[in-house]
């Protein structure tokens, strides 16, 4: 586990206090995780019937 010095902790604590409650609560509620496609594709077709009929 990475060791941290006392100053880093104080600075982070102060930064979080400064950021304020509203900004922090908004930030943790709005993250997005982006997953790329697992394989190469062209533009996907619109959903529909059998494309080869």
């Amino acid at each position: 586990m990475k060791k941290e010095n006392h100053t880093d902790k104080i600075t982070r604590k102060e930064a979080i206090q400064k950021m304020g409650k509203y900004a922090a609560m908004t930030a943790v509620g709005t993250f997005v995780i982006l997953n790329p496609l697992k394989a190469q594709t062209s533009s996907p077709p619109s959903p529909g019937g059998d494309p080869f009929s």
């Binding site: 586990m1 990475k2 941290e4 880093d8 902790k9 982070r12 604590k13 930064a15 979080i16 206090q17 950021m19 304020g20 409650k21 900004a23 922090a24 609560m25 908004t26 930030a27 943790v28 509620g29 993250f31 997005v32 995780i33 982006l34 997953n35 790329p36 496609l37 697992k38 394989a39 190469q40 594709t41 062209s42 533009s43 996907p44 077709p45 619109s46 959903p47 529909g48 019937g49 059998d50 494309p51 080869f52």
Partner: protein
């Protein structure tokens, strides 16, 4: 705390941080506030240590909510990446009913199709490279056929993709990847990714147009190719690791029926281009061939989110990396190789991001010309 769940790479891009997690090959774009909390969480030795850092600002219940959110976020970012696998199948040459030969500046490939319908998945975009003579020096032979509702794609008798017929766009994507490898002399592992967007060049640099289907990426690219610009890639823009340039994709620009009226007066011989009707969901399409740019590859300087709005004034405005990546990443293939992910983040850091709203063909061409001038 939970240092094993920490992101593998972290890049500052504009006002945001772009994080990449190797185990899941996932990206997340977080703001300054989220970054501070995540840093504090990951650097705290224990849960009570983290609580001590945030308890002056939040109530106990809020603290617990933050801890849950951060833990859930990290758990989701660390879901293992499982590459798609398919069973090995031997090539059945009895499906070889139609054979076409294509020449890309003297580099020749051959494709065997089992039917006219299967041919329509690949051939129309490359029809302008089709030659009538058989070549004895083909660089690669592809086979595409439909068997028991699955589409199979072989390269030099080796199966490279097998998907349900409803996912034929995967066969198209895999084929394009291997076509690019063949004509550019590369291997699949040489690419950082294939970005879902159309790229144009002014002969010095290039711009990628991205956006949801139907927003006018391809139409805009076609329009610009009638005005001194060259198409580098339509729909699939390949990014090479070695030089982080976008490479030439020879596929013609695919245009949906909704854009026919706009392009008809601008594209020469538009009426003579055949209408391709592959299936009802795609509707009528025309494929516009365009002249190859002078070079095979160009550096990219900007990604532009395109939004065609009837009667809207042309407007180019700055956009955040967050919006651009939320658009581009879920629709692009990006290599899970850590070196490639690092290169992708480095590449992004040097780009400009814009949103382009347009309807008028003249003013949008002027706007793009100006942008190219600025990027010089």
């Amino acid at each position: 705390m939970y240092n094993n769940l920490a992101p593998t790479y972290k890049h500052r891009i504009g006002d945001y941080w772009a994080l990449w997690y190797a185990v899941s090959n996932s990206y997340s774009i977080i703001d300054h506030e989220f970054n501070l909390l995540l840093e504090a969480y990951l650097h705290s030795a224990t849960k009570s240590d983290f609580l001590n850092t945030i308890s002056d600002t939040f109530t106990v219940s809020e603290c617990n909510g933050i801890i849950d959110s951060l833990f859930n976020y990290l758990s989701d970012c660390n879901k293992p990446y499982n590459p798609t696998e398919f069973p090995s199948t031997a090539l059945d040459t009895s499906f070889r009913h139609i054979t076409k030969t294509y020449s890309f500046g003297g580099k020749t490939i051959e494709i065997n199709y089992d039917s006219e319908l299967v041919l329509k998945t690949i051939h129309p975009a490359l029809a302008h490279f089709c030659i009538n003579t058989h070549s004895n020096t083909t660089l690669a032979t592809f086979d595409v056929y439909l068997n028991n509702d699955d589409l199979f794609l072989f390269k030099d008798q080796k199966l490279i993709s097998q998907v349900s017929k409803y996912n034929y766009h995967h066969i198209q994507g895999k084929f394009i990847m291997h076509l690019l490898c063949t004509i550019h002399g590369k291997e699949e592992h040489d690419w950082i990714g294939t970005l879902h967007g159309s790229t144009i060049t002014d002969g010095n640099t290039s711009l990628i147009f991205v956006g949801e289907s139907g927003r006018g990426k391809s139409t805009l690219s076609a329009l610009l190719t009638t005005n001194t610009f060259h198409l580098l890639a339509d729909d699939v823009s390949p990014l090479l690791a070695e030089d982080q340039h976008i490479y030439y994709n020879p596929s013609a620009i695919s245009i949906k029926a909704g854009a026919f009226n706009l392009l008809q007066p601008l594209v020469s011989n538009f009426d003579k281009l055949p209408i391709v009707e592959f299936n009802k969901s795609k509707g009528k399409l025309k494929y516009i061939p365009s002249l190859k740019p002078k070079e095979d590859h160009y550096p990219c300087k900007a990604i532009i989110l395109v939004d065609y709005q009837p009667n809207a004034a042309t407007q180019l405005e700055h956009l955040s990396v967050k919006t651009i990546l939320e658009t581009i990443i879920p629709d692009s293939w990006l290599s899970p190789d850590p070196e490639h992910a690092q290169q992708f983040l480095d590449w992004l850091s040097a780009l400009q991001f814009h949103k382009l709203t347009y309807s008028d063909t003249e003013s949008v061409t002027d706007e793009i010309s100006e942008l190219f001038q600025q990027l010089k």
